[in-house]
Symmetry: C2
Subunit: 499 residues, 2 copies
Amino acid sequence: MGALGDGFFGAELACNGMGHVFIVDMEGEEEEVGVGGCGSVSESTAGIEDAVKVLLQGLGEDPDRDGLKRTPLRVAKAFRDGTRGYRQYVHDIVQGALFPEAGSNIGTGQAGGTGGLVVVRDITLFSYCESCLLPFKVQCHVGYVPSGQRVVGLSKLARVADVFAKRLQDPQRLANDICSALQCSIKPAGVAVFLQCWHLQIPEVLKDCSAQREPSKSDMQGWLQAPAYSCSGAFEDEKSSFGFDFFSLLKFRGVTVVKNQTKVSSAQHCWCPLKSQEMPLFNGHNTSPTNGTVLSKAGATQAAMLAAVTSILTSLGEDPQRRELVGTPYRFVQWLMNFKRSSFELKMNGFNHGIASFYKKTDGVHDQSAIHSELNLPFCSQCEHHLLPFHGVVHIGFFGSQELKAVDRSILQSVVHFYGSKLQVQERMTRQIADTVFSIVHRGVIVVVEANHICMISRGIEKVGSSTATIAVLGQFLSNIDAKETFLQAISNSTASGG
Amino acid sequence: MGALGDGFFGAELACNGMGHVFIVDMEGEEEEVGVGGCGSVSESTAGIEDAVKVLLQGLGEDPDRDGLKRTPLRVAKAFRDGTRGYRQYVHDIVQGALFPEAGSNIGTGQAGGTGGLVVVRDITLFSYCESCLLPFKVQCHVGYVPSGQRVVGLSKLARVADVFAKRLQDPQRLANDICSALQCSIKPAGVAVFLQCWHLQIPEVLKDCSAQREPSKSDMQGWLQAPAYSCSGAFEDEKSSFGFDFFSLLKFRGVTVVKNQTKVSSAQHCWCPLKSQEMPLFNGHNTSPTNGTVLSKAGATQAAMLAAVTSILTSLGEDPQRRELVGTPYRFVQWLMNFKRSSFELKMNGFNHGIASFYKKTDGVHDQSAIHSELNLPFCSQCEHHLLPFHGVVHIGFFGSQELKAVDRSILQSVVHFYGSKLQVQERMTRQIADTVFSIVHRGVIVVVEANHICMISRGIEKVGSSTATIAVLGQFLSNIDAKETFLQAISNSTASGG
């Protein structure tokens, strides 16, 4: 990370591309119990709300329909809250929590000073990818070697880390920011920060949304992992064993670090999957808003959406001209367009026709007893209340062996994809999938959807481990409890075996 | 849970023993991003701060010493924040987030209405035990069956659960409160709430603090688990399969429920380990503050501490005369007295003498190469910054085979217990243990302390999975990197094998 001066820390932050850093008076330790200062939410949400309305219209949605009415307000508040770090000031957090702590006078960090290396492991954070505005998960591990006969309150390490997570970031800059902030504010003998970051992977199924292709079995909604390491002071000294000790203590928690992982080259810097795979927003209408030609309707919509995202960046206090942000509006709009309403209606028309013809072929003989299950069909959808992804798996069970030939895994995956690829709520998606399958396989359908909602984990509520399950039951599964039990047990078994 | 009316919900809360429920205007969804309303922290902390000073004095501490100066403010804020649920109102949270959602018109909850059962699993919460004021962990699972063609925003289930967690609770009442609040505010076909609650177990080592006994190997700082289940509406109908479906969906996440666990009898109601094991606060001075006899000095201190805790309950808006709270001040003071300064100084004097005599016996021949390790020595201490427990294990390594006869596991456990049994910070405890062992085994000592800090997980910061590791290195371990590595690897191995 290079040498760190003791100078005014605000100046250092400004180097990271931030034009202005707000100084919030935290009244000593006021921030101990309230997340975010008073008034941080209501400020300047109006501009963001207007921009979100433009995005909803660009997605072919009616911003006044039920479910979307308050979405602009929700999204604006989530963006403001998710970037509250721009309005927080590290010194205010740390200064009230530096405690004199006599050491053994044997040597800095060697049970001298104040007792040696201190490591707080597994601090869970959420940040926003500066390349695409999607949230990413962070498992943060912070170590420091106290000096000057003082230690810092342990929770402050987490709070300082959160200040920088609540900005538009990439993993390495986040690690660097946390490291320099702690070095400058605590002035210890050294600081080490190791991050494990997970970015939502672009589902395979979304990568080619215009083609009528069969989803592959490898459509797992995974996360892309990237590590980042930053250190200062004593940790930079190759002769000292602080780095070794730090990683040893992480290892106790199952965090193993490959040597080369800690050196992130500039080539690895582009970790955002949306950045590495760019494509036209509107088929054949990838018109730049500034090229002066007469814009088509799609081009005008695109220009309006890009301008809307740019205005959101400005409202958050960011500089849309900052190098790392130049392509961000484009990528965010590109992500959203995966969930455009109209383009997928067209696709479904053709798809319905396909199912109908399959169904005619197999209509006739029924096996009354057979239950067929297709488990763990992956999906990625977009929560219409918060414009944030929710993703997981769908389990579908139905009666009838003859229909199997028509309603195979790829057909069901297409149904799941169709209902996932729009602004949705999980309850509705579950019912729609059940209704659609029931319209083909008339005798009985059961659908279970299990999902992680980014809106449950990245906003104020931060319920990290939570997951939502919904169930819809139609036809014979309503009366045949044994059949339902058999199906639910099959899911249990597939989960237990890591499926 | 019995039948639930649609009446004014505030009235129902009042039945739970709360004299007054504050109505906080959340400004629609203002609570989406800010935790707690503005001003909820600064109100009436002064009274609690004074009470905490009395408690610190009762523990033989100087409230003005470094480290404790701001403790009363921190504790007051944590108590206010930890009981903010008394000042939150469920209807305000839910009303803005009920979404019309057309169903299939086949039948309530059967993919009709709005698609059937909705379950949010693994919502992590923290609550305060009403019997002893220690926080307890909650893994909360909520299910409901939508009706009236409307669903509620998923995060609201977590927010409503948190309103009732942020009060003084016991598991069954918490489950009942969450269930009735959701039933009354969402008016679905039914609600089910299953909680897994973990109360900090009283460490064996603290159970008999006056005796100079040898700690047993079973001194694991465990958690006492209790389940709680509450349901309403369709879940109460034994003919419906909603209950079965609910527990099936929990099973996918590894939550298995023993049938009888869901029926908590009144006999099981007393789950707090401090309630089931009461003992005198001051040896021979268990004087009630109201018995009219002339109080000894210890008795006067006890009376002042009990009055202080009672005043804290009142400041939080609780009624100290509520049946479940009558013994709470006594139990909280009893818990704190485990960490009284002076009584343990006396104990250490005798203990030091014991070690010294052991040491004399074995002084002499040294084996320069042997490293001896004692791993996973349990401890429970009290964070002096927040008056909340931190607990975990201590690993100690040292050079010298001859000393082993004196410095065995029980001696080291006693050293750990001695330094844990007071108001502490982990960094200092690590150094003190290292210094003490080093004063006996002069050649080299390494100490690693791994701890979970309740103050990191139960307050606003809520970093649930985080853990703190500290390390102190003295003597030959400073220069002998191989020895240190061997020791750290031994910890890794013991962790990997679940030790």
